[in-house]
C-alpha cells in the first residue's frame, strides 16, 4: 500500500512537471500552429539561469522568476527574430526550431558545462513531512511542485478564459485571419504568446532543477514528454495538457514500479491508443 501511494505521488510529481513544460508548448501550437522544437532548450535555459541566480542570491523565488524571464526573453527573440519570418510555413518553422534547439544546447554546454545541477532548496522546501490520512512521508519540494503546477494551471485558465488578452488568444486559435481583419497586429501577439510559453518553460526548468536535477539532455527529455503529452491530451488545449500530463506521468511511474522491464512501453501504448481512436487528442478539437 505504501509503495502504491508513493508511486502515485511520484507519478503526480512527474505529471506536474510535464504539465508545466507542455502547457507553454501547447499554447504556442494552439495559436500559431508552430511546433516549437526549441521548447526543451528554453526549459533547460530557464533551469540553468535559475540555478545561477539561486547560487548568487540564495533566493529560490528569485531563481524561478529569473529563469522564467530569461526563457521568456529567449522565446520572444526566437519568434521575433527567426520563426516569425516564416509564419504560415509550419514545416520550415519546425526545422528552424530544431536548429535553434541544437545551437542553444551547444551554447549552454559551453557556458554551464556538462555537469548535473541541482538548485539549492530554501529551508521551507527542504526535507519532507508525513502526510495526514495517507500516512506516508514525502519530500516538501515535490508537494510544492504539485501545488505550483496546480496554481499555474488555474492562472493560465483564468488568463485565457476570463481576460481580455485571453479572448484575443482564443480568437486567434479559432481564426487567425479574422483576428487580423479586425485590426489586431497578429505578429506582435505571436511574440507575446511565445514569451508566455517561454516563461512557463523556464519556470518549469527551475522547478525541475529543484525537485530533480538538470543536465545536458534534460532539454530533449522534456521536449519528448511535451510532445507525447500534447498528442495524448490534444494540441492547443490547457485542459488537454493537464490530462495528458496526468496520464503520461502516472503511466511512467506505475510502469517503472510494477513492470520495470516494460516501463517505457506504457507511455507509448497510451499514445498509440489515442492516435488510433481519437487522433486529435483526448480534449483536442478536430481540424475543420
Amino acid at each position: 500500500m505504501t509503495l502504491f501511494l508513493i508511486v502515485t505521488l511520484n507519478g503526480l510529481t512527474l505529471a506536474a512537471l510535464y504539465f508545466l513544460a507542455a502547457s507553454g508548448f501547447s499554447l504556442i501550437f494552439g495559436l500559431m500552429r508552430t511546433v516549437n522544437m526549441a521548447h526543451g532548450a528554453l526549459l533547460l535555459l530557464g533551469g540553468y539561469v535559475g540555478y545561477s541566480i539561486v547560487d548568487v542570491t540564495g533566493s529560490w523565488g528569485l531563481g524561478v522568476l529569473g529563469g522564467g524571464l530569461a526563457a521568456a526573453l529567449a522565446g520572444a527573440l526566437v519568434q521575433a527574430g527567426v520563426l516569425g519570418w516564416m509564419q504560415g510555413d509550419e514545416l520550415r518553422q519546425t526545422l528552424a526550431s530544431i536548429a535553434i534547439s541544437i545551437i542553444m544546447a551547444d551554447l549552454m554546454l559551453w557556458y554551464w558545462g556538462g555537469l548535473t545541477y541541482q538548485v539549492a532548496l530554501p529551508e521551507a522546501l527542504a526535507g519532507g513531512q508525513r502526510l495526514p490520512i495517507l500516512g506516508v512521508g514525502y519530500a516538501n519540494i515535490r508537494l510544492a511542485l504539485m501545488a505550483f503546477a496546480l496554481a499555474t494551471g488555474l492562472a493560465l485558465w483564468f488568463l485565457i478564459q476570463r481576460t481580455r488578452f485571453g479572448a484575443v488568444i482564443r480568437a486567434g486559435v479559432d481564426d487567425q485571419d479574422m483576428l487580423r481583419a479586425l485590426g489586431y497586429p497578429i505578429g506582435r501577439i505571436f511574440v507575446l504568446v511565445f514569451a508566455l510559453g517561454g516563461m512557463l518553460a523556464g519556470m518549469a526548468g527551475v522547478v525541475a532543477a529543484s525537485a530533480l536535477s538538470i543536465a545536458p539532455g534534460t532539454d530533449l527529455q522534456f521536449l519528448l514528454s511535451s510532445l507525447v503529452v500534447v498528442i495524448v491530451g490534444g494540441m492547443g488545449s490547457i485542459g488537454g495538457a493537464a490530462l495528458g500530463a496526468l496520464l503520461v506521468g502516472l503511466a511512467e511511474q506505475y510502469g517503472l514500479a510494477y513492470a520495470p522491464t516494460y516501463g517505457v512501453v506504457f507511455t507509448f501504448a497510451i499514445m498509440v491508443l489515442v492516435l488510433a481512436v481519437r487522433p486529435q487528442g483526448l480534449l483536442g478539437k478536430a481540424e475543420q
Binding site: 481576460t163 481580455r164 488578452f165 479559432d174 479574422m178 481583419a181 479586425l182 485590426g183
Partner: protein, 257 residues
Amino acid sequence: MPISQTHTNANALEVRGIGKRFGGFWAVQDINLTVQPGERRAILGPNGAGKTSLFNVLTGDTPATAGTISLFGTNVTREPINKRIQRGVRRTYQHAHLFNGLTVRETLFLAVAGVRGGWRQVLPLRHNDARLTEAERLAEVAGVTDVLEREVSELSHGQRRQLEIGIALAEDPKILLLDEPAAGLSPAERPKLSALLMALPKDVTVVLIEHDMEIALQTSESVSVLYNGRLLAEGSPKDIMQNEEVHRVYIGGAHGH
C-alpha cells in the same frame, strides 16, 4: 442618378486601374470604380468574375498587383489591413469567419477593441468598460442581443450573418464592404437581413457583393457588373436590368446558382 451626383468632398472610394494577378492569371484587371460618400453600391457578376478578389485588394487582405486605391482622397494602396481599419474600412466575408469558441459578447468586444485598443489588458472581461457598452449597442443594431452570452458555434446561420454585420459596424465604419451577406440564408431569414442592411446609417458608404438580385436592387442605388475580371457595365439598377450584355452574361446565366 447617384453616380453623377456632385459632391464637394473627396470620393469615399476611388479605384484606378486595379489588377490582381495570381501566377499567370489575372483575377481582376483594369478596374476603375468611384463610390461617393454615403452611396450604396452593389457589385454583381457570375461566379469567378473576380468580385471577392477585388474586395481582398480593397481591404488589404492581399496586395494589389497594379493600380491605386484611394479612400477619402488618401492613397492607401500600400497600407496594411490594420491601417485601413483605422481609416474606417470594414468587411464581411462570403463564408462567415467567426470565432466559434467565443461568446457573442466577447466577439463584439474584440471588434471594438481591435479599433479602439486595450486588448492587451490582462483584466477580466466583465468590468465597467465603455467598449463593452459599445459591444452591447452593436448587438442591438445587429439584432443579436438575445444571444449575447451564447457561444458563436451555437448560433443559427442567420444569426451568424447578423453578427458579422455587427462586427463590421464597430467604431464608426466609414465604408462597409459586404461579401454576399445573404449567402446561404433561408427565405425566411432574408427579409431580416435586408431590413438590417436598409437600416444602416445613411452616412456609411456600402459596397455590397450580392447574388440575390432582389436584395441587391432593394438596398443599392448603383450597380457595377464584373465579368471575367473586368468591369462590364455600371449604372442604376434599372439601367443594369435593361442592359442586354449584362442580361446575357449574368442575369441570363444566374438562374443556375
